[in-house]
Subunit: 347 residues, 4 copies
């Protein structure tokens, strides 16, 4: 079976294992206050051009989302998100567990617009009973989204403006951040995220690390006491060095960027091959996830040899599926897939 | 500086790094449903002689405590614990974050007795206004305790009886479990914990792993839907295989037990040397943490060469400190320390 | 100004004030354990034909919803509700405050169907990643709904069946229960609610009381320790007698039913008058809330003399508004309104 | 049976029932935005000499405590309180339900000192692992305390200073506030509370109202959005006018003060009579609760005729009990009790 069903099926890039092995017997203070974390923080802040930012390393994405949102919102506030957003669908209520409602907005392709948020906030404050409703306190978006799509720089700037207008935080979930940065369609750099967001995270788990997400905070109010929140959420790793070593490796010499490019260029070849064969894509994704719409016969033909995810039933016997590349995906596997696309999807 | 201040200053036992490296490019399903987790679960259940138990792997201790307690208690219930217990002192309110009060009982050496719990529960239900107070729903203890002490099998049996009498769960935090099992003073086997507790965990982080705790559930009611709780608390590791590989290595061929023995036998040599020099210990600890009571001059003398923790000020210029061994502690370092004890602590 | 904008603008039925005055200097134990509460509970259970039910009196509806839902659900579970349901929209996240997600289903007229719930649950358990999503643990519906509509007995039975199939509680919010019971279109008696629900409440605040809701629990598991939950949520009224005296008065001699009838018969006269004039209603409401669709000119004409609520903008200059009667509404006011409807809404 | 066991056994002062009756058919907007609430707020602010304060009316004390503390603290913070404090003992974990730990300090007589708080905070911030512990974010005290004792103005000022030093809020629970103000030993006026606290509440339930507590906020940050918190906690009374009418009545013409004086002067007569007979008091209470230490024979003798509360077992057969007067207590009852004290307590 050739696997395209997710971007976390393997361990990590070998350079990381090597760095962990090399540093294994070093003695370090715990909880993220070691030299490796310090250096990783330094490397990240350089890339962000944000020397004043705070950087914290957490183990996983749901933990990062819950910790950030809990620290950022007052209890009566909720996080505005796409109805398809990870916090609204795939975190078993981790945000609600900490007392906050997710305020879902409809979305076609995983994105929400500044206009939608503006309309939502105007409706909230325009309603004389707004104290009976959860106050929008943050906008949560993902870059790339769950559907592989990307916000443009102009869209992010518009979102920042509406956040400023209504006193909301802007938070970007960057679980697949590396695959967004590497896209030819992307015009948002890490330094733009640092300039426009109050807080965001750079995902490691899905982009070559064993695990780990780097939370970047630029909002002064949110910086205060953030480590208490990490501990309260159970996210303070005793051997924090493990996170430091991994991000040090990823951020040094452009490894993170290279891993992203590898995955995205292969994904775009897959997409092009599908489209050349007349297959439509459910979303216009310029990143490592691709969502071709296939007939049942086509899906069955592919599934003899390939693992991929079912995404959404469509009319007739059609359905969208997801093919996902990663930092690891062997080029040889993609070549085989492309041949099979040409064979199976004759239209 | 020779380090005795904690048991998590290094990475992990080399066999673990080797196993991670060897399995790195294997492709596995995520979230703990892979073959390594399965095998690790099997090995643990064999040692527990509890084939029906459920075993879940979590990244850290605070996460394990919060997840277990949230799943075990109804909202109006609290966890009875020693006032010095980890959940009462050192988790930044992670238990309260999920809505539960910790109900503290006084403790001399980290332990609480079945009699104390009996008295507490009798007082609760005997008070006609008990519905105005948090209901005791669980007893939380650590084996070994924060102070290195151990419950005897008879003490655990008595605790089980009082839990049964009042319909409470019994939960054992085994962050340093390996150092308890290895103690010559210990008469509680893993299979006893499985037989007497509703739930407990076997600590990996402090006993040779990079990270990881194995939560064992024997109570049927608690088994149901436990994985939802792991995810809700942000503890569902995407690459769950990392936990599987580590526990597989620790549990295979007695590595876990050997690492415990190494640390404890060295700690007991240190203790004996102190006592031979007339130094009293704050607690009667038969495990890897030792708490000698030293004068200021003695503390200063040791601190030129050794790292150790300040624990508690006592009368005059005396204070208790903590020397901690681990799976890693080189024997050579202990020999040097023992020589210095004999030199510094002349009484 | 003649007021039709809500059903809680006045104090209470005079018989209640009289009963409070008469009992004022009686001395009673606090917290709902007095003779008035006992008698009120007895009267309610007789009407329910449910001698085994538990009845608790709470001050308000949001408090009742939060307390019931917190007691009924395990932490990883959510409450399935209409997207327009009170708990989803108008309780400032009181349910989320206690850790639970509201799982919204689309709704045309305030109701959701057993088929929708079936489909939702089937999709949840059919998804292999369901542990990453909030588990549906309860169905929350209102009778009448926020839009004045009523569930039929057959619809409730179907909902009960789907709840049984998926192990969910069925909870009915009866804030306006009295106005449902009094509707000529209603075929659901209080005894049906007792037979079909795990828990529901009979609303006092909007049906003649100063305040107060009677929560009825028939599910044995939910009965246990419920008073702890009331106290924990801050809902244990010190002078619980006030709730007992009010429900005693409402439930004795059919007062509650009569107050409902008064309001509903007036509301239906208003509706008929609108419809006779060719005005459409947004919802087919057989209870005390009516939602005529008016032009701007009509709305302006009415607002010179009447207070009513804006409900929803529709196409062109049309909008739905709400006229609401209550236990108090003077017949004379309705007669005036009907005359003005005939005058203003000439079509 | 002559009742001295609590201060909430009756309904309310007749003037309140009269005002409720008189205003019953007035039509008012809901949720505390009516003319009665406005006037009550005005009267309170005049007494406080704090025209800028915000005043909110809540139904009960636990609700007030939970709402205030949730609004005042960030999630990682706890409330420092006497171990005997109401929030630590008698609210079924309502504070923990919202995610906050109560940080208990030992107390002899219900009070804690500024020195204790200083020491606690210094220890917290002095510990290098303080991020692993709940941060003290507020001092919670009661005036009078659960034991009838009073803070002096100087003690409150000292507490304010330590709160300022460590960036903590100062919150005073005034459930029995009226009985403190009326004490001859008291030197703290309402205006002092307004000047020294960030937030406090003036208790109605125990001082002549049917129910109701007036929360006063002087801290600007805490004012913002407070009504959202009331609703979220289920404390937004639909017919808020009921609270307005009651506080209007209590605060107009000194009724509240007079009710307090009535109770306290009777309590002090009881105390003096006990002491004249050689009976010691457990606490030096200058308010409406008195705690004589009686032998078993004495307790049995009193219990033939009087209801009072058991408080605490002491050595031998001695125990402290509580006699409690209220705004209602008939003087005749106190005269009878005093005669019996002289008869029973011959020493």
């Amino acid at each position: 079976m050739i696997r395209f069903e997710c971007d976390y099926a393997e361990g990590c890039h070998p350079a990381i294992l090597e760095a962990l092995t090399q540093s294994n017997f070093e003695q370090h203070p715990g909880y993220g206050e070691d030299a490796h974390c310090d250096r990783a923080r330094q490397l990240i802040k350089e890339q962000l051009k944000a020397p004043e930012a705070d950087v914290h390393f957490l183990v996983g994405g749901t933990q990062a989302n819950a910790t950030v949102i809990c620290a950022a919102l007052r209890p009566h506030q909720g996080a505005v998100a796409a109805v398809t957003g990870h916090i609204n669908v795939h975190e078993t209520g981790a945000i609600e567990a900490l007392g906050h409602k997710v305020l879902p907005l409809p979305s076609d392709d995983g994105r929400i617009s500044a206009e939608q948020v503006e309309e939502y906030c105007a409706a909230h404050y325009g309603d004389s009973t707004h104290e009976h409703m959860v106050q929008p306190g943050m906008v949560y978006i993902s870059q790339p989204t769950e559907n592989g799509t990307l916000y443009t720089l102009e869209q992010l700037r518009a979102m920042r403006r509406v956040c400023d207008k209504y006193g909301m935080m802007l938070y970007v979930d960057g679980a697949r951040c590396g695959y967004g940065l590497a896209s030819p369609a992307n015009d948002v750099e890490l330094s733009d995220l640092a300039a426009l967001c109050d807080v965001f995270y750079i995902g490691g788990t899905k982009v070559g690390a064993l695990f780990g997400e780097a939370v970047v905070i630029t909002n002064e109010n949110l910086k205060k006491d953030f480590r208490y929140f990490i501990k309260r959420q159970g996210g303070m790793l005793a051997k924090g060095r493990l996170l430091g070593v991994q991000f040090e490796t990823l951020m040094d010499g452009g490894l993170y960027q290279n891993l992203g490019k590898h995955a995205v260029s292969l994904a775009l070849e897959i997409r092009k091959t599908f489209e050349d064969c007349g297959v439509s894509m459910l979303y216009d994704s310029p990143t490592n996830q691709q969502f071709p719409i296939l007939t049942r016969a086509e899906r069955e033909a592919f599934s003899e040899k390939y693992a991929f995810s079912h995404w959404q039933n469509l009319e007739g016997d059609k359905a969208a599926v997801r093919f996902c590349t990663s930092w690891f995906t062997p080029e040889e596997n993609v070549r085989l897939l492309m041949e099979d696309i040409r064979r199976i999807c004759k239209r």
